[in-house]
Symmetry: C2
Subunit: 322 residues, 2 copies
């Protein structure tokens, strides 16, 4: 099986690391693994190359051996699976183009790129038509197998609602505000220092990231929806006083993403002890079913190895339906 | 596809209910469904029969139309899947015999019977040799898809440990003791009245049920183990004072089942706010991985429809590897 890796930042590098370290085990499950090429938006390496050398070169020089870009590699070279690890862009960006090229050529896709939210239907329909698989576990809740269970196990259930904490940065900020009585600005500064929040935090704190993930979850359970359908409110207006008043009644405040008849991302009161009241950068997803009540799934919401681990599992699932 | 239902108590009846109500949907997924026979240890119905009439007869007369027993039906009649719903017996009992007959005949098995814990290796090896599937999601945590994710998704991960609350009755008793400051005896009496505890509660409160489920989980992740390997301590010796002292330090007490190098079921201190500190009859399973930290899976731990829903999903998974 020939793998193409596109996007070679933290996630792409961690994926390659993990693929190489598990190679023997993986080959027993899915057969011989070859890396067709590794590419990013500016450079690539293909043909005869040593993947470890590629890792070293990217880490030291910030680029790969050749000038050929990802899109050209995808068009010109042969591969069976595209592993799309590039950074998510609002509206999909180049990553979606990459996936469309791959699927059109009859290759499977494993992706961590949340850009699929903006072309979900198109991508899925093309994948079905071309009889290939598009796997995207890593896009929501890192390695929490929520996409897997929704697509397989829960496909025989009637799902009434999905609600969850889909953004670890917001959950970190809110739980620190809860614990320390600090202001939003103080905790945001702390989160930036710790690398939990970006320099421009709006993607997280305005609920954009949570909304994109919610759209992916909703479409996974058959709620056709787009980013614009999400009613969205961020967390930057929450005050320490709000936490105080909530706590007196036994509640905390969390940024909740919910999909049922409507798609909503907004800060909500959550009872202490409730599965959604968890602290830190954790992600939690609740699945409300007609047949068997509510299920909760939780785990780390981000991290390069967490993301890579989900992609390795997706890769194996394409070829090994155990 | 011809289905044989063996065991026609709460779970078997709920399975049939759900199968009939979802029939149209299920047949789109896995093709025409036929019920070959329904049987319990004393009676059965096969050949030309109306499943709804069988349900009615069992509910009113406590038995099915014919005198032929389950074992004879399994030997004499044709079927593609055995749905084994009979009550779990320590050491496996007749249910294991039923499954062995079915697998030997080349039929798949879907079961809610925890008796598989006592013959796990034998059953799995036979199923592999006969190239059939043995599905047992319903044996642990009712409809929580823990077996599914361990067998599929997490099969590419290194699992360091599994720990969980696997018995809803014990969790109910302990969380009521925590909340109300009542004695074990008082809460047990309450639980019996509510139908949460059996007249002879030892199967639950001595940790036997949790130990059996732990053996199933452990074997699922490749820890070859038997019921006798579990170090087991029940909850009947826990006092209200123990909860008081624990609470002062920020802890509660829960019956924890853990599989790593050793298999242990015992009451343990659990920090308030920890995923294992949940209250009520809920089950929670934590999966500790090398690659991506700890995952938590929670949901209702019992219930006839919950169990049936897991079995329906297992049934579909045999034929539809989506």
């Amino acid at each position: 099986m020939k793998i193409a890796i596109v996007g070679f930042g933290n996630v792409g590098q961690s994926f390659l690391d993990m693929l190489l370290s598990k190679k023997e085990f993986l080959e027993k499950r899915i057969g011989k693994i070859e890396i067709s090429f590794i590419a990013d938006s500016k450079s690539s390496v293909s043909g005869d190359f040593d993947p470890l050398e590629a890792l070293r070169m990217k880490r030291t020089k910030g680029r790969l051996r050749d000038d050929k870009k990802a899109k050209n590699c995808l068009k010109e070279l042969e591969f069976d699976v595209l592993v799309e690890c590039s950074t998510t862009k609002i509206n999909g960006g180049e990553a979606v183009e990459h996936m469309l090229i791959a699927i059109e050529k009859g290759a499977n896709v494993v992706t961590s790129n949340k850009g699929i939210a903006f072309y979900f239907d198109e991508l899925m329909k093309l994948a079905e038509r071309k009889n290939v698989k598009l796997m995207y576990e890593a896009t929501v809740g890192a390695a929490i197998p929520i996409i897997r269970v929704l697509r397989t196990y829960f496909s025989t259930f009637t799902i009434k609602k999905i609600a969850g904490i889909l953004n670890g940065t917001c959950n970190y900020i809110l739980s620190r505000m809860e614990e320390e009585g600090l202001s939003y600005e103080q905790v945001l500064a702390e989160a930036k220092e710790l690398g939990i929040a970006e320099t421009d935090p709006s993607y997280d704190v305005d609920g954009i990231d949570a909304a994109i993930k919610l759209v992916i979850l909703a479409n996974t359970i058959g709620i056709r929806s787009k980013f614009e359908d999400v009613k969205r409110k961020g967390i930057s207006w929450i005050t320490p006083e709000a936490f105080k008043i909530a706590a007196e009644k036994g509640y905390t405040i969390r940024l909740i993403a919910e999909a049922s008849k409507e798609l909503i991302v907004e800060p909500r009161l959550v009872k202490f002890g409730h599965p959604l009241a968890l602290k830190g950068t954790i992600n939690t997803i609740l699945v409300y079913t007609e047949e068997a009540g509510t299920f909760s799934f939780a785990g780390r919401g981000a991290g390069k190895y967490e993301t890579a681990a989900a992609m390795i599992s997706d890769l194996v699932a394409i070829y090994d339906d155990r």
